[in-house]
C-alpha cells in the first residue's frame, strides 16, 4: 500500500494509536467487559423482545388487543 495514501495514513493512525495506549488500554478493557455484560448477558437473558415472544408474528393485533382490553 502506498504510504502516502489516505487509507495507509488512516490505518497508521489507528494502529500506532492503539499500540501506544496506556490509560486507553484500561478504558478499552472496561468498555469490552461492559459490552459483553450488556449484549451477551443482559440482552440475552434478561431483555428478550417481549412482542416477538408473545405476539406470534401479529404485533399490531397483540398491541390492539392489549390497548383495548386494558381500557375495560
Amino acid at each position: 500500500m502506498n504510504k502516502d495514501s489516505f487509507l495507509h495514513k488512516a490505518f497508521d493512525l489507528y494502529y500506532d494509536g492503539f499500540r501506544s495506549m496506556r490509560l486507553g488500554k484500561t478504558l478499552w478493557a472496561i468498555i469490552l467487559i461492559k459490552l459483553v455484560i450488556i449484549f451477551a448477558i443482559l440482552k440475552v437473558f434478561f431483555f428478550p423482545n417481549f412482542l416477538k415472544e408473545h405476539a406470534q408474528g401479529d404485533e399490531s393485533g397483540y398491541v390492539a388487543n392489549e390497548l383495548v382490553e386494558r381500557a375495560n
Binding site: L13, I38, L42, F47, F50, S60, L67, A71
Partner: protein, 510 residues
C-alpha cells in the same frame, strides 16, 4: 387469539419498570453532561494552544482530554440498556410510538458512531499525525458529535412530552411520522436541547473549577489550575446565564403544552392572573409565575383544580375538564376496537369509515380512556415542587459562584486581591468548590425529575399512560433486574470515580 392474556397488570410491574428505567436514565445522565461540558473546556484549551503554540497549553489540553476520555469510555453504551428496556418492559409503548421514536434514535446512533469514532481517534492518536488545525477541528467535532447525539435523544424525549408530526394508524397500531421536520424541529425539542446542553456545560465547568481547586488545595500545578479555572469559570458563568434564559423558555413551553406539570412544579391548586412564584411554601415573588409562564406579569396560569375541572384560556379557547377528556378517550378506544372488528369481519366501507372518523376525532384524548379517576392525571406534586426548587436554587448559586471565581481568578477588584492570590486562599474556599461538583449533578438530575415526574402518568402526553404502555411481565423479574442493575451500575461508577481520581492525582505531565 390472545384470550389467555393476563390483562390485569400488576401495579408492581409498573412501579418496578419505572424504577428500573429511572435508575438506568439517571446513571446514563451522570456521564452525558460531563462529556458535553468537558468538550467545551478541552476545545477552548486546545484553541489557545493552536493560537499560542505554547507547550503548556498542549499539555493542558491533553490533560483535560484524558479526563474527558475516562468519562466518555465509562458512559459508552450505558444508553443502550434504555433501548432494551423499551423492548422488554415497555413493549406496548415501543410498538405504539412506531418510527417516530426509532428515527431520531437511529440518526443518533449513526452520527455518534461515525463522528465520534472518527474524531475521537484523531483527537487521541493524531497529535503527531495530523496538522494542528485538523487536530483542533477534530477536538471540536468530537464535542459537536456528542452534542448532536444529545439533540436526537432530546428530540425523541420532546416528542413524548409534546407529540407532533405524527398520525395514528389503527391498522398497524403505530404512530407514523408525517413530518420529519416537525418532529426534529419541534419548538419543545429546541428549548429542551438548549436548556439541557447549557446546563451540561455548567457541570463541565463546575468539574473543571473543582479539579483546579483540588490542585490549589494541594498547592500543585499552579499555572494549570489558575489558567483552567479562568476558562472553567468563564464557561460556567456564560452557561449558567444561558441555562437561566433557556429555562425560562422551557417553562413557557411547559405552560403551553403541559400545564399540569407547571401546576405541579408550583403546587398551584387554584390558578388565575398575576400569580406569584413560591420560593418555598408561604414565601413568594409576586406575579413571577405568571411572567415565567407567559412573559406577562398579569398572565393567566391554570392550577391543578382548573385543569381537572376545565377552564377558559385567555384567547377564549375552552379546555375541557378531565371528565370530558376521559369520556372522549373512551370513545376513541371503543372506536378503535369497532374499527378493527369491522375490518376483520369485512364490514361495509361506510361502517369502517364511520368508526375511523370517530377515532380520529377523539384521538387527541386517546390516553384519557385509561383513566379511572380524574386524580390519576395529577403528577406527584411534592417531588415536582422540591425538585424544581433544587434545580433553580442551585442554578442561581452557580451564577454567583462562577462570578466570584472568575473575579478571583483575574484578581478583580484589585483592592481586594492586592496582597493575595486565588492560589493561596484558606483551604475551605477550595473545599466549597469541590463540594459543588456533586451539587451540579443533583441540580441536573433534579431537572430531569421535574421533566419526567411532571408528565406522569403519561409515557406519551395524553396518549398513553404508564399502565397501558407497560408489558405484561412478572413484577418479580423486573425487580430482580432492577437490583442487578443497581449492583452493576454502582460497581461501574466506583470504577470510573477511581480511575478519574487516579488520573487527577497523577496530574498533567507538564
Amino acid at each position: 387469539m390472545f384470550n389467555n392474556l393476563l390483562l390485569d397488570i400488576d401495579a408492581g410491574t409498573i412501579d418496578w419498570s419505572r424504577a428500573q428505567f429511572a435508575l438506568t436514565a439517571i446513571y446514563h445522565w451522570l456521564f452525558v453532561p460531563l462529556t458535553l461540558g468537558l468538550a467545551v473546556i478541552m476545545g477552548i484549551v486546545e484553541t489557545i494552544y493552536y493560537r499560542t503554540k505554547e507547550q503548556f497549553w498542549k499539555d493542558a489540553a491533553i490533560f483535560w482530554q484524558k479526563l474527558f476520555g475516562i468519562n466518555f469510555a465509562m458512559g459508552v453504551a450505558t444508553g443502550i440498556i434504555l433501548e432494551f428496556e423499551f423492548g422488554t418492559n415497555w413493549s406496548n409503548y415501543s410498538w405504539f410510538v412506531g418510527d417516530i421514536f426509532g428515527a431520531p434514535l437511529a440518526v443518533e446512533g449513526i452520527v455518534a458512531f461515525f463522528m465520534e469514532s472518527t474524531f475521537v481517534a484523531v483527537m487521541y492518536f493524531g497529535w503527531k499525525k495530523v496538522s494542528p488545525g485538523f487536530h483542533l477541528a477534530s477536538t471540536w467535532l468530537t464535542g459537536l458529535g456528542a452534542t448532536i447525539s444529545a439533540w436526537w435523544i432530546l428530540v425523541a424525549n420532546a416528542w413524548m412530552q409534546y407529540p407532533v408530526g405524527c398520525a395514528f394508524n389503527p391498522d398497524t397500531m403505530r404512530n407514523e411520522m408525517v413530518s420529519f421536520a416537525e418532529v426534529a424541529l419541534s419548538p419543545f425539542a429546541i428549548s429542551k436541547f438548549c436548556h439541557t446542553v447549557t446546563s451540561s456545560w455548567i457541570i463541565g465547568a463546575v468539574f473543571c473549577v473543582g479539579v483546579c481547586s483540588w490542585y490549589m488545595l494541594k498547592r500543585r500545578e499552579p499555572r494549570l489550575s489558575i489558567e483552567s479555572m479562568k476558562i472553567g469559570a468563564a464557561v460556567g458563568l456564560v452557561a449558567s446565564l444561558l441555562a437561566a434564559a433557556t429555562g425560562h423558555k422551557s417553562a413557557q413551553d411547559v405552560a403551553a403544552v403541559q400545564p399540569m406539570k407547571l401546576a405541579a412544579m408550583e403546587a398551584l391548586y387554584d390558578g388565575g392572573n398575576g400569580i406569584g412564584l413560591k420560593v418555598i411554601e408561604g414565601i413568594e415573588v409576586p406575579n413571577a409565575l405568571s411572567f415565567m409562564a407567559t412573559n406577562d406579569f398579569e398572565g393567566y396560569v391554570p392550577g391543578v383544580n382548573d385543569i381537572l375541572n376545565g377552564y377558559t384560556k385567555p384567547d377564549g379557547q375552552v379546555e375541557p375538564s378531565v371528565e370530558e377528556k376521559i369520556e372522549r378517550g373512551r370513545q376513541a378506544i371503543a372506536a378503535l376496537a369497532a374499527y378493527r372488528k369491522a375490518k376483520h369481519e369485512g364490514a361495509e366501507d361506510s361502517t369502517i369509515n364511520q368508526q375511523l372518523s370517530l377515532l380520529n376525532e377523539n384521538m387527541p384524548y386517546f390516553g384519557y380512556g385509561y383513566i379511572r379517576n380524574k386524580e390519576e392525571v395529577v403528577p406527584p406534586i411534592a417531588v415536582n415542587f422540591w425538585a424544581f426548587r433544587v434545580m433553580v436554587g442551585l442554578g442561581g448559586l452557580f451564577i454567583l459562584f462562577f462570578a466570584i471565581v472568575l473575579a478571583g481568578a483575574y484578581g478583580w477588584p484589585k483592592a481586594l486581591w492586592r496582597d493575595r492570590s486565588i492560589t493561596g486562599l484558606p483551604n475551605w474556599h477550595y473545599w466549597i468548590a469541590i463540594a459543588l461538583i456533586p451539587l451540579a449533578y443533583i441540580a441536573s438530575e433534579s431537572g430531569w425529575l421535574v421533566a419526567e415526574f411532571g408528565r406522569q402518568p403519561w409515557t406519551i402526553q395524553d396518549m398513553l399512560p404508564t399502565w397501558a404502555a407497560v408489558s405484561d411481565l412478572q413484577s418479580s423479574s423486573v425487580m430482580i433486574t432492577f437490583f442487578l442493575f443497581l449492583i452493576l451500575f454502582t460497581t461501574m461508577l466506583a470504577v470510573e470515580i477511581n480511575i478519574m481520581l487516579k488520573q487527577i492525582k497523577k496530574g498533567p505531565q507538564l
